[in-house]
């Protein structure tokens, strides 16, 4: 059943009409999830501007940590493709177990150069994905977490003193060893996933890259996030000037990570209507209490609380030609749906549904501009 209103099967036209009613009734609506292709993000932004809605992405917590570093200090980074070809030294920061597949794609290719891997809390799975012989040089200091070890390492790389009592003599020796190994790189990279780190760790990792780059060549390889998060950031930035979370108070595009944090807005009751978009993974919002919601989701999505309107949409990466961010090349890439799959899928795209809702609301084509 691909279209439902209040849990009952409905026609697409009725669902669009109801969706328009739900969203326009809100005084503080939110556009959340945003797991869609570039066409979907462009359409969602136009609708959000019209509704003066807040816009957030499902990967917001991790995204915000990387974006905060970007706008507070900047960053020195390398595309994963070039990192995989060039890096002779890799520092893995954090667990990264869920990114093992990505690490294998980036670093584990046949013909990759011999490289030294230093692990700061990386799981065995992540380390194994690097495709290097032997175990990585592990930097685990007993009783000291990833963040504090990273801060201590950064201090040692910079030749600054650290709390020797806490790290212990062998801990300090390991740190200095690692610092020496890292400094010996011809081209080194520091890899992290902001989803598994706190803000200070991300900032320290980016700072460590800058410090190491003063003498050797170094660059960061942050994981770009799931569900086309990095693609959504780019499209939001060229459309509004800003990454999500963003809003349109008074019609003015505005970036404010706290004010437009859609999860916060929903939890506090501030949001009074929601458009949830998850066309890449069948994911429902994790909200325990939600305002009237319109959900554009991949088939098979299960909801704890039935939304007012559910419209199932095409999987951006499976059954429709799409533009998505590619986590290996770090750029937008056209992804062609396998031949025949698109024709066999009767579901609409996110962009088409949003354009229909927008048209219903404005009487004008949301699609034309």
């Amino acid at each position: 059943m691909s279209v439902r209103i209040d849990g009952e099967a409905a026609s697409f036209e009725d669902a669009v009409e109801r969706a328009a009613a739900v969203l326009s009734a809100g005084r503080a609506p939110v556009v959340a999830g945003l797991g869609t292709d570039i066409a979907g993000v462009r359409a969602a932004l136009k609708l959000a501007e019209h509704l003066r809605a807040a816009v957030g992405h499902r990967a917001a917590p991790a995204l915000s940590r990387d974006l905060a570093v970007l706008s507070e200090t900047g960053i020195l980074f390398v595309t994963p493709t070039e990192a995989g070809r060039r890096a002779d030294t890799v520092l893995l920061v954090g667990d990264l177990a869920t990114r093992a597949g990505w690490l294998a794609e980036v670093f584990g290719r046949d013909g990759a150069p011999a490289r030294t891997v230093v692990s700061l809390g990386a799981s065995a799975k992540a380390a194994a994905a690097m495709g290097t012989e032997g175990a990585p040089l592990s930097l685990a200091v007993k009783g000291v977490g990833v963040r504090d070890t990273l801060l201590a390492l950064k201090a040692r790389v910079g030749g600054r003193p650290v709390d020797e009592k806490r790290l212990g003599r062998s801990g300090l020796r390991d740190l200095d060893n690692a610092a020496k190994t890292l400094a010996a790189a011809k081209y080194g990279v520091v890899v992290w996933d902001a989803a598994g780190l706190d803000g200070l760790s991300v900032e320290a990792a980016a700072g460590l890259v800058r410090d190491l780059n003063a003498a050797a060549r170094y660059a960061a390889v942050p994981f770009p996030g799931d569900d086309n998060a990095a693609g959504a950031v780019l499209a939001c930035a060229w459309t509004t000037g800003f990454p999500p979370p963003l809003g349109f108070p008074g019609g003015i595009a505005t970036h404010d990570p706290w004010r437009f944090d859609v999860d916060r807005m929903v939890a506090s009751g501030e949001a009074d209507a929601a458009l949830w978009i998850s066309a890449m993974t069948p994911a429902a919002p994790a909200w325990t209490e939600a305002p009237p919601t319109v959900a554009l989701v991949a088939a098979g999505t299960r909801f704890v609380m039935p939304p007012a309107v559910v419209i199932e949409v095409r999987r951006a990466d499976r059954t429709t030609d799409a533009v998505l961010h590619d986590a290996r090349t770090n750029t937008l890439t056209p992804v062609a749906a396998p031949r025949g799959k698109a024709a066999a899928d009767a579901l609409p795209t996110v962009a088409a549904v949003i354009a229909a809702i927008h048209l219903r609301l404005s009487g004008k084509g949301g699609a034309s501009c």
Binding site: F77, T239, V323, L332, P334
Partner: protein, 545 residues
């Protein structure tokens, strides 16, 4: 729909027109005066106003990876203050694609070239440009630090193979030409080299900057692409860089070459600060080498952000970042860097940079070969164009600026003694006729029948800033899009492209090389029309026959 612009002062240097006349448009094109008695559907009385073709900017960083990184680096520099007018979504969202189109259009510009698109980011750049309203746009593909070209050269693949590869990239990435940015410099930076001159060699390839740029220059000639190789030289911003610039001009060996933002190289190393104007040396070299064109990259005072694919240079400039934060990145080719910068009128070096740019404009003998740019936003945002035109057209305006600038700086430039004032004819050459010719866009930059009906009408006043800030009327493809300096409605232009011929066998070679290097293939720089989300997003222009 037949439109008559009646009794305007028509300035169309491509056809030596400079006088009171009508301009007629129909179905998006300029048409000849119709037979007597034909009634137009619309008449605009433009008596006393200046009528020119729509403006064309050959070098402005308005879209793509580095531009969007600058948006993310500096959110505090572009907070919005007003809501957009109805029907113009995001039109006031500062630093957005939408705002860029709106602000260009109100100045009477109708075509803009984004000059630095990494092939792997071509799709992103074209998507950003698709959301830039009103104007037509075009891109240049950046080559010269990409591992594929360097590998072909190292392996002595030969001149034909290089041309085939360059042709493939230009065609697939929907570009109009080729840009080369510090040839080999970014590749050398990845090998931990921190300065890179014309005859320095990339350690991992054994190739010099001179060899690389000359190979690309030859490829562009061989492919019959009309726009010459668009080159960003080595040693940008360095005192004494005038020597590099002149050596590069001489190295062109008579083949067509365009040198970007030359102000940033026209620096001698004289005076007690070891920094002086090299403008006159540049002018001499230009006079001796008619195959070379340049754009200026004028500096204006104020906060801006430098955006460049010269990753080596941007890294070395990071100590000057203001506010103090910056981005540098490595990629399969050039990578890039974003360094915010504040040009201060009180700073001797910055004041001299300002003077050198104007000195180049005003000393150049041939306005057809010296192009009007600020290298937006590197020297200044494009919104400063009206002020710069004012400075070029009005020596009293220049004197007012000079009076407020450090004397030490003015003493090192010939600018204070220059009395020349640009005419409207010369402005029209620099911003319309010459850019169209340089880009090979025969359908614009002039007002003769058959040209696309991109027309700007300005109120003729001595306050040239006011005149060029807000065009009285702008027509894009014959549609009125600006009235009294305000955009009246969005329309979306196309990307102007070329499709040079190349041997299709090269595709397999390049797929193989990209596969070995990265596990990717030529899809990485292929921009499918269907991915852009607008009808007919591209228009193909012929190469030289």
């Amino acid at each position: 729909m037949l439109i008559r612009l009646k009794d305007g002062h028509v300035i169309d240097p491509a056809h030596d027109r400079d006088g009171i006349d009508d301009v007629w448009m129909q179905d998006g094109r300029i048409v000849a005066r119709p037979p007597r008695g034909t009634e137009p559907d619309a008449v605009y009385d433009v008596a006393g106003k200046i009528v020119m073709a729509g403006g064309i900017d050959i070098h402005s960083h308005v879209a793509g990876g580095n531009v969007t990184l600058s948006r993310l680096l500096l959110p505090e520099l572009h907070e919005g203050t007003e809501a957009p007018p109805d029907g113009q979504p995001f039109g006031t969202a500062r630093w957005s694609s939408y705002e860029t189109g709106r602000l260009y259009a109100r100045m009477g510009f109708t075509t803009v070239v984004e000059p630095a698109v990494a092939p792997s980011q071509a799709l992103q750049a074209h998507l950003e440009l698709a959301d830039l309203p009103i104007l037509d746009k075009a891109t240049l593909s950046v080559l010269g630090n990409d591992e594929v070209l360097l590998g072909l050269m190292r392996d002595k693949a030969g001149r034909d193979a290089i041309a085939d590869y360059v042709g493939l990239v230009v065609a697939k990435s929907r570009a109009i030409g080729v840009k080369c940015i510090n040839a080999g410099g970014s590749a050398a930076f990845k090998d931990n080299v921190r300065t890179f001159g014309l005859d320095d060699v990339i350690p991992s390839y054994g190739l010099s900057s001179r060899q690389i740029f000359k190979a690309l220059q030859q490829a562009v000639v061989d492919l019959r692409i009309r726009h010459p190789l668009h080159l960003h030289c080595n040693n940008l911003g360095v005192a004494g860089a005038i020597d590099t610039l002149v050596e590069t001009i001489e190295a062109a060996d008579g083949l067509p070459l365009h040198l970007a933002h030359v102000q940033f190289y026209a620096y001698g190393s004289e005076g007690k600060r070891g920094f002086s104007s090299g403008a006159q040396q540049l002018i001499r070299a230009l006079n001796l080498n008619p195959n070379v064109t340049v754009d200026v990259g004028q500096v204006m005072f104020g906060q801006t952000v430098t955006i460049s694919s010269d990753s080596l240079r941007q890294y070395s400039a990071n100590a000057l970042a203001s506010p103090n934060k910056w981005i540098v990145w490595d990629g399969e080719g050039n990578g890039g860097g974003i360094v915010p910068f504040h040009y201060k009128a009180s700073n001797v070096i910055n004041a001299l940079q300002w003077a050198i740019g104007l000195e180049i404009f005003l000393s150049a003998h041939d306005p057809w070969r010296v192009f009007f740019t600020t290298d937006h936003p590197n020297g200044a945002p494009f919104t400063t164009y009206p002020k710069i035109l004012h400075l070029l057209m009005d020596r009293d305006e220049r004197a007012r600026y000079i009076a407020g600038l450090p004397k030490a700086a003015m003493a090192l430039s010939a600018l204070p003694s220059i009395t020349r004032e640009f005419t409207l004819q010369e402005v029209a050459i620099m911003t319309r006729a010459a850019p169209a010719r340089l880009l090979g866009l025969t359908d614009r930059g002039h007002l003769s029948p058959g040209a696309i009906a991109d027309v700007s009408v300005y109120t003729d006043t001595t306050d040239r800033t006011a005149m060029f800030e807000r065009a009285a009327l702008v027509f894009k493809d014959g549609n009125l899009v600006v009235r009294d300096g305000e955009v009246t409605e969005y329309r979306f232009g196309r990307a102007e492209t070329v499709e040079p011929g190349f041997d299709k066998a090269i595709v397999r070679t390049i797929d193989g090389r990209l596969g070995d290097l990265y596990g990717t293939d030529t899809r990485q720089f292929t921009v499918p029309a269907g991915a852009i989300g607008r009808d007919e997003p591209f228009r193909v222009h012929p190469c030289r026959s």
